[in-house]
């Protein structure tokens, strides 16, 4: 095994076992209760408001692609997009999806189209509403801002990986009068979203979105598996602090293997 990755691998295996165990446990009927996530509950409210106002909903999945470490945030954004698309299809509300990378356009089109089919309204699906703006960060940002302003979006849902454009988008959404639900795991952008949007999902909450919105008990079980990882992390932090303060280094040596 590659040096320096042994402890990492052990933690990964333990997490995998924990997640699979709790998924199977949920499948057998022991469904855990998870806390409410107001940000995700607010999506229904946001789409409902847009429907009442007769104005469009904008849903974006961040500006990361599918090929790097931020891909999992994009996947989380796509899961939320599927849910938003179903709500929009159900209430006949226009949905606009700006994409930064062209590779995500067919993915987003597929998700939205399937949502419209699932709601029994395939004819209402408009492929032109899923648009590639630009793979240049700020060209994408200005395109998105223009879209919100021109279309007078009533709801703006941004879940995924965002960088410097997060504040521009959130502020423009606020000025456009849109109800905004945001979420990212990029720590530097979380304060901007917290300040400028109505509801904000912080860090790991975006990864729980797919499981939470689907209300699938088996998926909900997997969220409990994460808590095992959290308990391990907390034990290691406390133990590591005590041992390092006492000058004992065996734990840090094991973890660095």
């Amino acid at each position: 095994m590659v040096e320096g990755r042994v402890a990492q691998f052990v933690v990964l295996v333990v997490l995998c076992i924990a997640v699979i165990y709790f998924v199977e446990r949920a499948r057998r009927g022991k469904v855990p209760k998870i806390r409410k996530l107001p940000g995700l509950d607010a999506i229904d409210e946001a789409v409902g408001r847009a429907t009442e106002m007769g104005r469009p909903v904008i849903a974006s999945h961040g500006i990361a692609g599918f090929e790097d470490m931020f891909a999992v945030q994009t996947a989380a954004g796509m899961s939320v997009l599927g849910y938003v698309a179903r709500l929009c299809a159900k209430y006949d509300t226009e949905l606009l999806v700006p994409c930064r990378y062209s590779i995500l356009v067919p993915v987003a089109q597929e998700i939205v189209q399937q949502a419209y089919i699932a709601e029994g309204k395939p004819e209402a699906y408009k492929p032109d509403n899923i648009m590639f703006l630009s793979d240049e960060q700020f060209a994408y940002s200005i395109g998105y801002m223009g879209l919100m302003t021109r279309q007078k979006a009533a709801a703006n849902i941004m879940i995924g990986a965002y960088w410097a454009e997060s504040l521009q988008l959130a502020e423009t959404g606020f000025m456009a009068g849109a109800i905004q639900v945001s979420g990212t795991a990029n720590t530097a952008q979380i304060p901007f979203f917290v300040v400028c949007t109505d509801y904000c999902l912080i860090g790991e909450e975006i990864f729980a979105a797919g499981a939470y919105l689907s209300k699938d008990p088996v998926l909900t079980g997997s969220l409990v598996g994460q808590d095992v990882g959290r308990i391990i992390a907390e034990i290691l932090i406390v133990l590591g602090t005590i041992l390092t303060t006492a000058g004992v280094k065996w734990l840090t040596e094991i973890l660095s293997k």
Partner: protein
């Protein structure tokens, strides 16, 4: 073919590629199977090829959407002019990049291509980035209205950090520098690390759900 059956293909591809890359990360680099590293490099090369190919898909998507907007223009709505402008720019940039570059043999070193990038795109990019300062000011105005105890705490912490970062803060009282440093190193770092650990665990759990085919939201269709 039913839509739920069509999702099996992408799921299998995702599983095979992801397991291979995970295996290479832990057992590659000459540790167990050196060939794994080579094969992993090849897979990542495929990704680069696919990404290059889909640039064309993106350009076609843009052209199609804006062509429809030009076709469906309504009296009094001049937004179709922007669509026409996009058309003109895409065609101009393609001509400059591909045809002039090929004709001169300079490819992407062609001067007019570089000029357009440096003096149009980069300038616009820089302008967009710089207007963040104004957005920060308007965002800070809303954030710093002390309506609740949390907002008041944010106001106090924000003011202290600003005074610690601005040159005038150190002139007024050198203690602002220490307070700023303490806020950023201790409470802020604790918060960031907490979020990072949580996000890391969440990402791993979601990765497991994707690999085992439980999380299918990103493929469309919901449950």
């Amino acid at each position: 073919m039913a839509w739920y059956k069509r999702r099996e293909g992408p799921l299998i591809v995702t599983l095979i590629v992801a397991l291979f890359l995970i295996f290479e990360w832990y057992f590659g680099e000459g540790a167990l199977i050196p060939e794994a590293t080579k094969a992993s490099g090849q897979i990542q090369l495929f990704v680069a090829f696919i990404l290059a190919f889909v640039i064309g898909v993106g350009a076609l998507n843009v052209l199609r959407i804006h062509w429809h907007r030009i076709q469906r223009r309504k009296p009094g709505d001049y937004s179709w002019l922007y669509s026409s402008w996009i058309f003109i720019l895409i065609i101009l940039y393609v001509i400059t990049g591909i045809f002039l570059g090929a004709y001169s043999g300079l490819r992407t070193e062609e001067p007019s291509y570089i000029w357009m990038y440096d003096y149009v795109l980069s300038a616009l990019d820089g302008t967009m980035y710089s207007i963040l300062a104004f957005f920060i000011a308007s965002g800070a105005y809303r954030a710093f209205r002390a309506r609740t105890a949390e907002a008041a705490l944010l106001l106090i912490a924000g003011t202290l950090v600003m005074l610690g970062n601005a040159p005038v803060g150190g002139v007024i009282w050198t203690g602002f520098l220490d307070i700023n440093s303490w806020i950023q190193r201790i409470p802020m770092m604790a918060g960031i690390r907490g979020i990072l650990i949580g996000a890391g665990l969440g990402a791993i759990a979601m990765g497991i759900r994707i690999l085992t085919g439980r999380e299918r939201g990103y493929l469309g269709g919901g449950e």
